[in-house]
């Protein structure tokens, strides 16, 4: 049976609900944030079935939540949020995904587009040379066992200690780039071996380093606080924990599949495998996930350092790039939320969803406390990206979360059927966007038409009150693996 419009109850223009009565094993309702226009696209794949499955997780509270960029994944949909009771509700590695702490960092330059325009092609070539990209490609940093454990414990801070970052980078990174619960001992040797040589690499797929120009500012005060102004050149880095994170998820999902019977957990999909957060399996996964998340923050810090080297080589050492913010979109965190009228801790799973905390939150840097947390939403290569700010409504409706990107609408194979990589490159070049890539077929898979319209997604996020628009970015150069 398909899930369609008839199964949805309209709560408001941008909020829809699949009631708990829809299926007998649902423990909570499922909520979808989208405009009515976006719904037919969402019905096309298995996203909402996956969301209904998430609603069956033991200990889930509030609702299982889907963002407007939702698309089918495996287990959880991509673009999903689920919170469970702390400390005995379940933690589900599938609710974070294999690319633990995949996320985005945005760097600010002090150059405006007209001043930088003539040298952006040269910058892009240099970025491509400086930053290793592509499938399984190793990096320039090789870590011994002790140093890798330090990175797993201290994340971006360790990179700063090694001279690859500064205090402001850490200040402007979610959780200061370091989750304190990291347990390197819970990370297998296989995972460590896969990650050891991959620090400072972006990988393949939809990961990229992109140079953008601020096209439009919507909220002057927030933009000023974030350091954004029209025509300013900025750089987005999109990557995660690479092979180390993939292996951590694989190892622990396998352990949880075995453990579920012990905890009397029955779920409609093995990929949702979970264990009580407080159980040995739950704690081992949380410690390993936190270590992988730290590795990802160290990775984006290392990539930012490589970006700075390329930038300074082109524009001179006096031209600096500063971090506006670095944010995760595949992660689980223990956070405090108001649940049934009281403030309680919850285990918040975000898979393809971004934390979007409101003004005043003590979790965000002081400089941003009046405006709300910066939320960076990268669009597809060649379309626009957005910087948003978190809101109080997001705390009430989505455990302080917003969307994470445009969201795929067409399969990779489907995109390759429609267009060749060479054509995508030519079209982007004709629009003034420089492209450097190691894989033309990968370029076709990431063609802009393979994604939903980013403007529709962000309009729905703003319409639902989950975040408000601060600035619109237009891409001018991209490198991808």
């Amino acid at each position: 049976m398909d899930i369609g419009r008839d199964n949805l109850k309209k709560i408001s223009d941008y909020v829809w609900e699949i009631p708990r009565a829809f299926r007998s094993d649902m423990r909570v309702s499922a909520r979808i944030f989208a405009s009515e226009k976006m719904l037919p696209e969402i019905f096309r794949d298995h996203s909402l079935w996956q969301l209904v499955n998430v609603a069956t997780l033991p200990g889930i509270i509030g609702s299982a939540v889907a963002m407007p960029d939702v698309h089918e994944g495996y287990g959880f949909p991509v673009g999903g949020v689920a919170a469970t009771e702390f400390p005995d509700g379940t933690i589900s590695p599938g609710g974070i995904g294999y690319d633990i702490n995949c996320g985005v960092r945005i760097l600010l330059s002090d150059l405006s587009f007209p001043d930088a325009e003539g040298r952006l092609g040269e910058l892009n070539k240099r970025l491509y040379r400086e930053i290793p990209s592509g499938v399984g490609r190793g990096g320039n940093l090789r870590l011994d066992a002790t140093e890798l454990d330090r990175v797993l414990r201290c994340g971006a801070r360790r990179m700063a200690e090694r001279g690859c970052g500064e205090e402001r980078d850490l200040e402007n990174t979610e959780s200061r780039g370091m989750l304190p619960d990291a347990d390197p001992a819970a990370v297998s040797d296989q995972a460590k071996n896969r990650g050891r040589g991959q620090l400072g690499t972006i990988g393949a797929g939809n990961h990229f380093v992109q140079t953008d120009v601020v096209e439009k500012v919507f909220d002057e005060a927030a933009a000023r606080a974030f350091g954004l102004s029209e025509r300013q050149v900025v750089i987005l880095i999109h990557t995660g924990s690479r092979g180390l994170g993939h292996q951590v998820a694989t190892d622990h999902i396998r352990k949880m599949v075995d453990a579920m019977e012990r905890y009397d957990i029955e779920l409609p999909d093995r990929e949702l495998a979970s264990a009580p957060f407080s159980s040995p399996e739950g704690q081992a996964y949380f410690g390993a996930m936190a270590a992988a998340a730290n590795f990802a923050w160290a990775n984006r810090q290392a990539v930012a350092w490589e970006v700075r080297k390329a930038w300074e080589a082109v524009f001179g050492k006096e031209r600096r790039l500063s971090t506006l913010y670095d944010i995760a979109h595949n992660i689980a965190k223990v956070e405090e939320h108001e649940i049934d009228g009281e403030r309680r801790k919850a285990i918040v799973h975000r898979k393809g969803a971004t934390r979007a905390f409101p003004p005043g939150s003590h979790e965000i840097p002081e400089a941003y406390r009046a405006s709300g947390q910066p939320v960076v939403i990268p669009g597809s290569m060649g379309s626009a990206s957005y910087v948003l700010a978190g809101t109080e409504t997001a705390m009430e409706r989505s455990f302080g979360s917003a969307c994470h990107g445009a969201g795929r609408r067409l399969s990779r194979k489907g995109a390759r059927r429609e267009v060749r990589g060479k054509e995508v490159r030519r079209e982007l070049m004709e629009r003034g966007i420089y492209v450097e890539t190691g894989s033309l077929s990968g370029l076709a898979e990431e063609a802009p038409f393979a994604y939903k319209d980013i403007h529709d997604v962000v309009d729905a996020v703003e319409g639902a009150g989950l975040a408000r628009k601060v600035a619109l970015l237009r891409p001018i150069a991209v490198i991808k693996g």
Partner: protein
């Protein structure tokens, strides 16, 4: 080989079948190799790497996913595309196999993981064993 790729919005969904578990597992391994490096494997081509794999899992479906995951990890650790296998034992939740592959300087596709999502070995109308396997890419 008895595998085919079917649509998935973001990842790769493979349908695989075989007359018996040994054939099903063998075809699934070839299919995964075909994702990592399309077109690399041709029947009869020389393979330069062999590794032994032993797995214990709850049931045949979990065993298949755990087997593919284990081989995927080996692939990344050693830069090898594994395309063939000899299964000494696939029964009662236990697998013992020798996998054969070829060293490569890089992969064409970044398979992050083999997932349990939708995997369920059942008998199809032709009397063959069949399942879907979703790969995270």
């Amino acid at each position: 080989m008895a595998y085919e790729f079917i649509e998935h919005t973001a990842d790769i969904r493979m349908r695989v079948s075989g007359k018996a578990l040994t054939e099903l597992f063998s075809s699934a391994l070839s299919g995964m190799g075909d994702i990592l490096f399309p077109g690399l494997y041709k029947e009869g081509m020389p393979l330069d790497t062999e590794r032994n794999v032993s797995i214990v899992s709850a049931d045949p479906t979990v065993l298949l996913i755990d087997f593919l995951s284990e081989v995927l990890t080996l692939s990344y650790e050693e830069s090898v595309v594994f395309c063939e296998c000899r299964l000494e034992k696939v029964e009662n939740g236990m697998l013992e196999a020798t996998v054969y592959g070829r060293k490569v300087s890089g992969f064409k596709e970044d398979v992050k993981a083999v997932t349990y999502h939708e995997a369920d070995i059942t008998e199809n109308e032709e009397g063959c064993l069949e399942t879907v396997v979703v790969f995270d890419i």
